[in-house]
Subunit: 189 residues, 6 copies
């Protein structure tokens, strides 16, 4: 029960990885105190690994109007819609850490419509959920609630692109039977 | 953010309640260290309160083949399908406490199909989820996987009846905007 | 074809039941002229039987703004959404009897949106159906149409709680393969 | 409440209709004792009326292995899936009349999976429902259960074509807000 | 791979057909340069064939406010919702031919909400899709957007009836595994 | 109607882009004869652009058991499920080009279950569609049909990862209202 990917695909030995990947993983380990399983499982395919984390960083580290907590909130809400255990648990932990709101991740995962959200956060998650679950219906009217909270087109791109990226991430985690590290469950509660 | 029911319906003062209800609530408070909000919110209607908890106890305290942890697992899985924040969080805590498995509640809430379950637990949740989400399709074939794990018709009734009771409970919690007590989120982790 | 529960669970002999249950059943039989199968099938578990009917009575016999016919209409509409043959047929009969509208039950069961309903009845069923099928989305705006017809928060609780109780009842009837008594089909037409 | 089509489209005066239509309607009236509203509402468009009933007769009057009751059963089951009040009520009456089983129509409309059906009837309705609700998934394997009951490819065409024709009929009835004549509700009970 | 119906049902020899059917087919062949497979496959049942094309012509050849292109657009959009390969491809070709817009059929088939449509075309397809996918919810409010574009009740009947007729047609094509003629794919591009 | 993204987000001037992006785009233009709009629209965000195409190439150019045509088939089938006009049309063209089967793209987009596929192609698309639409249910049994066609775990990763990547891609195209270049519609027919 303790493997990162439940044995579905091979897990590489970290020391066998190319230097750039080892370096990236070492940094995360230093910061978090452990290596999140998403790094371990996706390392099986170095090119995809590099593209995945480059994309992740482009969105999640980008400066903009969305706070780090708002970004993680998008991840938790859309990952719950996709029933992705890894992302709900791991990003739930990060959401608690960034927001300093220890209850918010479990609320958003269960039903974001009843979570303790500001009106702005609610508008962000409504938009993100539409991109996650029925993006073909997104139309101009969907941008208005974001604009009512001072969020620009660029911010809307951020919201939608994070929902889109985790549509990928959730499917990879489900495909690989990726398992959250035990540390995530209790972090920042 | 701290009201038990988000102001949607009146919350009675506990001291104004009939003696039998106060007594029941006092016992729970003694055991848990706090009064779970389901008692506070449903106390608004004493007759329904009494019937609700009588039904709850008839199912959840009944001796039988299902363990207490298995019963709570049914509650968490079916409440997740109904997006009931109160039941996921509160019964998730109780599931952790009974099972001594601190990670299991979050796994079952996210996607019971990928949770660390025994084959028996998986069969129980499959049956419970069918009753919760498409009970009109339950047929004789659905009992076979339970029987393969030594679970009788009586046990199947327990599984199905718990799923059915929480179909009610989830809807009442959602109707009343019932909020989990903060204590539940971190209990038994 | 004539068993109350299609042989899925044991049916107790009525004379073997505890006195309070026999008394309750005798009263129903006296009034209806026969024993509705829900009493026969659920009698297999006396504690659950008592809680079930206590809950039923707390909601269905409670004095309030909803008429008896309106309450039965909620049962028929939500039971149709759950494809519960027993509740559609049995409560359809009771709806015809209370409302003196011999066509209304079949209309509500087929498609309540096209049934011959007053605007108030339509608002009640819209609210009930939301609780029955997506209670996690119920929000403050859902109460407004009820209020427009003079229905208070207490009345909304009644509507929602009846929908919630029959979410349980429908699942128990489907689980136990409960069959409507033949008498219900033609009653009050 | 008594108009055939709730006022949504004009209803022609029967005496203004072309002779062939008047004749057809007169025959039905003679047999049934009243003019079913489907004739009245669809008469608004004579060419469509003629094609509709020619198609109806080609399927419903065709000699083959399916009994008249089995054909009506297909209509009731698929019309229930489409929430078509007119077809559920009117063809429910005809089903009762042909089958001499006064309870069967209400059972099939509520949940055909739990109706008192023979294995052959169950296989017919499974096939019909697949054509009605997800015809794009029909494949060779779906014909096997029909064949197991001695039903040929020609019979399968009948089953599927009746489901297909009532996909049209249900939509026309819903579009025109067609109302069942009061006589249908109590016929043959 | 080249049979009109993938071998699921017998395909009649055209020369064996009754004169009226041969004549109809000859006319189509003269105009199109080939015999569309819908004629070949449905000819297996002459009475149904005649009713089908009588109905088709009553709707598609009827004079009214809808243009021929608008009618074909309804066919393509609703057939896409039903995943009917034959109708998407064959009527997509006809739509291109009538509209002189070589890209429109592929756009409407993929997602009509993002196709290059006028506001009137969008309103027509919204109404048609509601009839195709949830006709039981059609109500008076659905007619207003059509009226805003000058479309009368008669025009709304046309829109809805075309959607309804192709609900039948799509199911027959899926039931019979009807295959589009190769010519349709590239026609009018 | 001719903008690459319908005006929803700013479109950068190609000459203003960083050299590496201009070079990549120039190469595509040279090969295709035009610049596909996905390059134009996503160039608004250079870092995301680079990660997107790095990921794309890692999957689509990777050597393995899947042919180029099989990879494009996955894109078309899953993009159809997401109603992504851009990907259906653009990758449909590429699928036609690689497969030399001019009808296959329209068939797969309409209903892959009825397309002219080999058993191996059908197995690949079944797996891809499960990842695209309900990845949380993927389990060990889903790999068996791939293995029956000689496809390894690595190949299954390819299938699933392509479905996952286009879950992202489809959502970005829908978010940005990305429009297929006119050239794609008729290419390789």
């Amino acid at each position: 029960m303790s493997e990162p990917g439940a044995g579905r695909f091979p897990i590489p030995a970290l020391e066998s990885l190319p230097a750039d990947m080892r370096e990236r993983i070492a940094k995360v380990q230093e910061k978090a105190g452990f290596v999140p399983n998403v790094f371990v499982v996706l390392a099986h395919r170095p090119d995809e690994f590099r593209a995945f984390f480059a994309y992740h960083d482009a969105l999640m580290l980008r400066e903009g109007a969305l706070t780090k907590a708002e970004k993680e909130m998008i991840v938790v809400a859309t990952s719950a819609a996709n029933h992705c255990t890894y992302c709900i648990v791991a990003h739930g932990a990060i959401l608690r850490a960034y927001s300093k709101r220890p209850l918010i991740a479990d609320q958003v995962a269960a039903n974001y419509l009843k979570a303790d959200l500001s009106a702005r956060e609610k508008a962000i998650l409504d938009f993100a959920m539409k991109v996650a679950t029925e993006s073909h219906r997104v139309d101009e009217a969907d941008f208005a609630p974001l604009e009512a909270h001072g969020l620009s087109r660029e911010d809307a791109w951020d919201v939608g692109a994070i929902a889109a990226f985790f549509a990928l991430s959730n499917r990879m985690a489900n495909l690989t039977a990726m398992r959250p590290n035990a540390e995530f469950y209790s972090m920042a509660r």
